[in-house]
């Protein structure tokens, strides 16, 4: 694992509010990570292509629209199909508790609710990527 952790922060689908995503992007940057932010209303294809080309270690999906159960499986499938399956995928936004199990089964290992301290996310990433 390289010293410089590279993260893609992406907002899939149709929601027009990215304050949360930007706060996370900035927080991870301040924790020393290189954060690619792709902006609002990204298609699943855009996200997966960006993850591949940027060769990121982590993908952070931010979603508030409620479409996670539709969009996340699509993203995970495209990642698998393209061979980019070595990436840690985490998610945040408005994702009801009852959906967490289903998403974890997809391989989305960290789901962070509003109000999560940035440190918790940073620690999670370090732990999962096995860096101190």
């Amino acid at each position: 694992m390289s010293e410089n952790i590279k993260v893609l922060i992406a907002k899939p689908g149709l929601d027009g509010h990215d304050r949360g995503a930007k706060v996370i992007a900035r927080g991870l940057k301040e924790a020393g990570m290189e954060v690619v932010y792709t902006g609002l209303r990204q298609t699943t294809e855009q996200i997966v292509r960006a993850a591949i080309q940027e060769d990121v270690d982590v993908i952070g999906l931010s979603i508030l629209s409620g479409a996670h159960s539709h969009l996340f499986p699509e993203i995970m499938k495209k990642l698998n199909d393209s061979g980019k399956d070595d990436v840690l995928v985490i998610a945040g936004g408005i994702i009801p508790d009852e959906d967490h199990d289903e998403l974890k089964k997809l391989g989305i290992n960290g789901i962070f609710k509003p109000g999560t301290p940035i440190n918790e996310i940073v620690e999670f990433i370090h732990q999962e990527l096995d860096v101190a």
Binding site: T38, Q46, Q53
Partner: protein
Amino acid sequence: MQIDVDKIFAGDERTVAQAISLVENSREDAFELLRKLYLKTDLAYLLGVTGPPGGGKSTLVEKIVARWVENGEKVAVIAIDPSSEFSGGALLGDRIRMGSIATHPDVFIRSMATRGYLGGLNPAIFDTVLVLSAAGYQRIVIETVGVGQNEIDIVSLADTTLVVTVPEAGDEIQSFKAGLMEAGDLFVLNKSDHATAHRMELILKQMIDLARSDNSDWKIPLVKTVATEEEGLDELIKHITAHKQFLHDSNLEVSNKKKVMKNHLIHLLEEGLRNKYIEPLLKESSFHASIDAVINREVDPYTKVSEWLNDFGKEDFDR
């Protein structure tokens, strides 16, 4: 990590991306790979795009790349943003403006942070260009914020350099005129529908007239654009094509290549010396003791450094 060279030549996106990571993160391993690429690879045409933040560089790049791709070219973009000096992290946001080309099969976009490279980012950028050229990208755009020497160095790699300014950038233009004004082969006044554009146009024209002291026959054009509306885009593309042709016809291509390669060799030497001799020295406890010794006037810094320089490579000679 083992990288399959054939997959790079075949243009496999994932392999190319991994190779660039190697170039960025693990130089010694990367050299192994780059050796296999270099002799079989012609470097792509390089367009450098620079200028003050918020000037519309990424939007312009998106539009230029879209046109090139329409004409059947394979195009790569290297978008460079600064690293934080405090945390070492970086926010790489150039993709935000490149959504429309981001999924095109013939486009490859890579964001890179400047990191704290002592010798500048240059060697890694050159090597990234090499990887992308080997993968079949015929044109490569390097986008940087035009503020520091580092960025000007990066731009010096380019065959054609585009300096993008905006009407409200008056003060910034003043601050970078010495470096960037000399580097620009083409100037773009973006957001030229702005009310104060005319004034800026006059300032720029004067500066451009004064900027170049070389005896080149290239007359530096100033193109007015509104990138979001694609206004002036045709003209801009025409000028870029003309400059490419000019380089070819005037033989400047050859002297540019020589200049770029000279710089790359120097950068690789500096990088090698640093990794082989300086970095290990910095880790030695005697180095830290020497800092104190110098502060306490037990020895002067010049003597100390010349001692180190004399010691460099000695073990190698003993062998």
